[in-house]
């Protein structure tokens, strides 16, 4: 095991970095897209609401692997040349955004209770009321569930291994296949994942309690 670490620390660290990098990009991307579609979902326009609903239901009910592989294999054929890391990160962003949309929507619903009407009555526009009154409160409510989404996101980023995305799981597979030390390699990979996810998960529980 120590042998494995000393000889393979470079690809492992590179993988860890790519996993973190991909997760952070996907988190930011999916927060923006997710909030956008959450706002569509609570819109008073029927058509807009339907668009929001369809987006969320589609990406919530199709496996991440199908989405990521689809981007990896189909997009370069017709649209643009993208590599595995990009394809995987886009897939991860779209997939997670549907979950975040649901979370944010639940958060907004939990604050509403007349506050929106109050703000509108006080002369604010709809977007102002959303921006200054509703969303800040909603985000406070949804921080613990969002944290859990982020942990899921880090775990789900292992799907990049299927599209040659050079993430931690991909490097782990290569090392395992190369050295044929399967279990020790995956043990180390597991510990590296836990280094990211475990503290986050305990912090989220701490937030939940307080």
């Amino acid at each position: 095991m120590i042998n494995l670490i000393t000889s393979q620390w470079q690809p492992l660290l590179m993988g860890l970095w790519n996993t973190i990098f991909c997760s952070v990009i996907a988190l930011i991307g999916s927060l923006i897209i997710g909030t956008f579609f959450a706002l569509l979902e609570i819109s008073s326009h029927r058509v807009v609401r339907i668009i929001g609903n369809v987006y969320v239901e589609v990406f919530r009910n199709i496996p991440l692997l199908v989405i990521a592989m689809g981007f990896f294999l189909i997009v370069p054929m017709y649209i643009a040349k993208i590599n595995g890391f990009t394809a995987g990160t886009i897939g991860l962003t779209l997939y997670t955004s549907s979950f975040i949309a649901e979370t944010v929507r639940a958060g907004i619903n939990s604050v509403e209770g007349g506050q929106l009407e109050g703000a509108l009555a006080n002369g604010m526009t709809y977007s102002q009321a959303m921006r200054y009154i509703i969303l800040p409160q909603a985000f406070k409510v949804v921080i613990p569930p969002l944290g859990n989404q982020f942990i899921n996101l880090v775990k789900n980023s292992s799907v990049l291994a299927f599209v040659a995305g050079f993430d931690l799981m991909y490097q782990g597979n290569l090392i395992a296949n190369d050295t044929l030390e399967t279990m020790p390699t995956y043990f180390i990979v597991g510990v590296l994942y836990l280094i990211i996810t475990l503290p986050l998960s305990y912090y989220m529980r701490y937030l939940e309690k307080n």
């Binding site: 990896f72 294999l73 189909i74 590599n83």
Partner: protein, 277 residues
């Protein structure tokens, strides 16, 4: 009521310990004699490919595995266990075959596996049953004519993770970037969607891919020798010797050549005269 919970807890712990005890009492895979066990069960479990045309491919119509390696494994099983001997085929990939052999899920690997010194540290090989060589598959009309053309920054080579060919690429084209996918179906699809400039693996597998994708061709000849061997666990000398014996008999009685002709006789670019035994 607390008592009940304590009881439950103790029960769970006891169950856990029982499981681990029986686990320790069970013989580890390396100690069991595979040949004796297989003869007793009248069954050999082979790890084979399910995504590689000509060697081991799942037929969509029947769900059965078909290919040169499948037929050879069937013939060898009959040699070893007698005409009523049965075989089980477990589909593996280059990534899963060795862990599955080591943990005893399969008895032997016959899955386009090259005999290499590194692998011999972990598993034992029989004599080679097929002499492949590594080559390249590119789209027709591609400027790439040989592995040398790929030894440039910016070139991307596709391979399968766990295969020996991706290791060789590091030797022959160190400047190129290598993308490793989980199996040949993925690698071929990735080549088609232009994720790489060439796909590299052994010629026999590439011929199979070129046969089903007429817009692609095998180029540059073989730049390595890749003898395929059947892998068994360490300390299974009896089983390995029996496999070698069966292979030799099949080579002598013409079965080997018949199977070779059946699967590769019609393949363009394949030299049957050179390969027959």
């Amino acid at each position: 009521m607390r008592k009940l919970w304590h009881l439950l807890g103790v029960g769970c712990l006891a169950a856990l310990m029982l499981v681990s005890l029986t686990a320790c009492a069970g013989k580890s895979v390396a100690q069991q004699d595979v040949l004796t066990a297989d003869q007793k069960a009248n069954r050999i479990t082979w790890g084979v490919k399910a995504d590689t045309r000509l060697f081991g491919l799942e037929d969509i119509k029947t769900g059965r595995l078909e290919g040169f390696e499948i037929d050879l494994a069937k013939a060898m099983t009959k040699e070893i266990l007698g005409p009523n001997g049965k075989c089980t085929f477990v589909p593996v990939t280059s990534g899963t075959r060795v862990p599955l052999l080591k943990n005893g899920n399969i008895d032997a690997i016959m899955a386009t596996m090259t005999i290499t010194p590194e692998r011999e540290k972990q598993v034992d090989f029989t004599h080679s049953y097929f002499d492949a060589g590594q080559s390249l598959l590119v789209k027709k009309g591609s400027p790439i004519k040989s592995i040398k053309d790929l030894n440039k920054p910016g070139e991307v080579i596709l391979g399968v993770s766990g295969s020996n060919s991706v290791k060789n690429v590091a030797k022959y084209a160190p400047k190129a970037r290598v993308l490793q996918l989980s199996d040949y179906a993925q690698a071929m699809t990735a080549l088609k969607s232009k994720q790489g400039d060439a796909l590299t693996t052994d010629n026999g597998i590439l011929y199979g891919m070129a046969a089903e994708n007429p817009n692609y061709e095998v180029i540059g000849g073989n730049f390595t020798k890749e003898p395929y061997g059947i892998a068994v666990n360490k300390n299974q000398a009896r089983f390995r010797n029996k496999l070698n014996w069966a292979l030799e008999r099949l080579e002598k009685n013409g079965t080997y050549n018949r199977l070779l002709l059946k699967w590769f006789g019609h393949v363009k670019g394949f030299n049957y005269q050179e390969m027959k035994r």
